[in-house]
């Protein structure tokens, strides 16, 4: 019997792998997701055959409660709030692994060195993921201030908590079943999770979410070691690898090292650049009508969206503007910087929701060589990711950050309320370039005005 159950778990793991493979292309992605869901179904059903399961009341209650909460969350969540939802799901994943490992501990099934260490690891990583994700959620949902929070000596406290946890796990290996030490480990891990995420600023949240995603996978894998379950081990490490890759992509896109993000180190501010010096007398402003006139003669236009666009709920307006231009025979594409949204791939989802075809969404490496053949680049709610200082000014704190080379376009139109700085707190010399025109105003209003002018013209 056990062999058949294990083979069913293997089938489930294969379905997960095939499912993720489906996610490598938009066309096969829906089917991939369904295959993965089917794998989960297989794993859950064969588990119910497990000889240790004698009652079903608690199981049914848990599945009903969890299923309802999950379904409502999935149906109701706004696409702009997706980072918060992912943060919560990461936390719940960590919490589930933590609870499972705790249950195994109190059942006394962990009695050899390997399974005690695995239990300790699942509790430690699971609890850190749980409380850390709740802080990330609170910051993204703006329940608490997004600014970095901390106190002197915080790193020391974190180090003590971490080393204390490791010592606690070691103690449990020597004295299996000591409940006092176990609860101490739980408490230390939960506080550690809070303290690790509190000092991380709002701008770095994409990295944190990706990293916690990875942790939730590693916690599941550790729980798999505790239970000797291959499906958990394989799946957990797949998720762990996925989170880690996304973390490194985000770090690279933000020009931050993972250590800097984790320890809340902001880039050293170089010589303070004077805004007046950058902008004085060089900024030219324009009007929607003027932009429309320019677009009428353009052959190729690239739209550069930032999160400000989504905050203004302007995605549909932008798509309508693009449709109008395409009807006039203008080629329109979108340039998506990896950190354009608030998590990996977020901007793509926001634009897909507004029915922008996904093949028009180009990533940074694809679109950058094409700016030189672009007549007009329209920057909407993006700032730091277009700052040419990242490419040219070695003294700048953002030097080396990969940016969208919008300034290479023949004309750049920046739609923005004012000349205020972005997350990096730096002036953007793009705004003062000879080929740049500023269209001051509300993003959505400006886009609607341009569209109207285009239709009339």
């Amino acid at each position: 019997m056990q062999n058949w159950i294990d083979i069913a778990y293997l089938i489930a793991a294969c379905l997960f792998v095939v499912g993720i493979k489906g996610l490598t292309k938009p066309k096969t992605a829906v089917r991939g997701n369904l295959l993965a869901a089917a794998g989960m179904g297989v794993a859950a059903v064969v588990t119910l055959l497990n000889e240790h399961i004698v009652t079903y009341e608690v199981i049914i209650a848990g599945v009903v409660v969890g299923g309802l909460i999950g379904a409502v969350m999935a149906k109701k969540v706004q696409m702009t709030a997706m980072p918060q939802m992912i943060a919560l799901l990461n936390g719940f994943g960590g919490g589930a692994s933590f609870s499972v490992a705790s249950a195994e501990f109190f059942r006394g099934s962990a009695n050899d060195t390997v399974s005690i260490i695995a239990t300790g690891a699942a509790v430690l990583i699971g609890a850190v993921t749980l409380t850390g994700s709740l802080v990330a959620f609170a910051k993204l949902q703006e329940l608490i201030d997004g600014k970095p929070m901390g106190f002197p000596g915080m790193k020391l406290v974190n180090a003590v908590l971490f080393i204390g946890s490791i010592v606690g796990i070691g103690y449990l290996v020597a004295n299996p079943g000591n409940e006092m030490v176990f609860w101490g480990l739980v408490a230390a891990a939960m506080v550690l999770g809070l303290l690790l995420v509190l000092p991380i600023g709002g701008a770095d949240m994409p990295v944190v979410i990706a990293l916690l995603n990875s942790y939730s996978g590693v916690a599941a894998s550790a729980a798999g070691f505790v239970m000797g379950n291959s499906a958990l081990i394989i799946t957990g490490s797949l998720v762990g690898a996925s989170g880690l890759i996304l973390t490194s992509i985000m770090c690279k896109a933000m020009n931050r090292s993972l250590t800097n993000v984790l320890f809340g180190v902001m880039a050293e501010a170089g010589e303070a650049m004077d805004e007046d010096e950058v902008y004085a007398g060089k900024v030219k402003s324009t009007s929607a009508d003027e932009v429309a006139m320019m677009l009428e003669t353009a052959r190729r236009v690239v739209i550069v969206p930032g999160f400000g666009l989504a905050m203004a709920q302007a995605q549909h307006a932008v798509r309508e503007m693009a449709d109008t231009m395409e009807a006039m025979g203008i080629e329109v594409e979108y340039a998506i910087h990896p950190v354009a949204g608030r998590m990996p791939g977020h901007m793509n989802v926001l634009l897909a929701e507004a029915e922008v075809p996904y093949d028009k969404l180009k990533d940074m490496d694809t679109i950058n060589p094409t700016f030189e053949q672009t007549d007009v680049a329209i920057v909407l709610g993006a700032n730091d990711v277009t700052n040419p200082m990242a490419r040219e000014d070695k003294g700048s704190p953002i030097y080396g950050m990969p940016i969208l080379n919008v300034d290479k376009a023949k004309t750049v139109v920046v739609v923005k309320r004012s000349l205020s700085a972005g997350f990096a707190g730096l002036p953007n010399p793009l705004f003062a370039k000879d080929n740049t025109l500023m269209l001051f105003g509300d993003g959505k209003g400006a886009v609607l005005d341009i569209t109207t002018a285009l239709k009339e013209g």
Binding site: A44, N50, G62, V65, M79, I86, G228
Partner: protein
């Protein structure tokens, strides 16, 4: 399953994961994250065993919590992934 066999699985699966995930285009990174949340709900396997066992009240309570959390991940994760992917599918 002995420790070395488990470790072998763990390490090989990480390599497989890296190979697979690097092929996912940036456009699908958000659905990838929600989808991987859903499959990390595989912990439900351990949760079900704890919730349905007769090893005492504390185990059942922990099992119940784990079943609720893991089911939120599974149902919420797959449903929201499906919702997002449907947006990418239409043309």
């Amino acid at each position: 399953m002995d420790f070395v066999a488990q470790l072998t699985l763990f390490v090989l699966a990480i390599f497989l994961g890296v190979e697979l995930i690097t092929k996912v285009p940036p456009t699908l990174h958000t659905p990838l994250m929600s989808g991987s949340n859903a499959i990390s709900g595989i912990t439900v396997v351990g949760a079900l065993i704890a919730a349905g066992s007769d090893s005492g009240m504390l185990i059942n309570v922990l099992g119940f919590i784990a079943v609720v959390l893991a089911t939120i991940n599974v149902i919420g994760g797959f449903m929201v992934t499906n919702r997002m992917l449907a947006m990418f599918k239409r043309k």
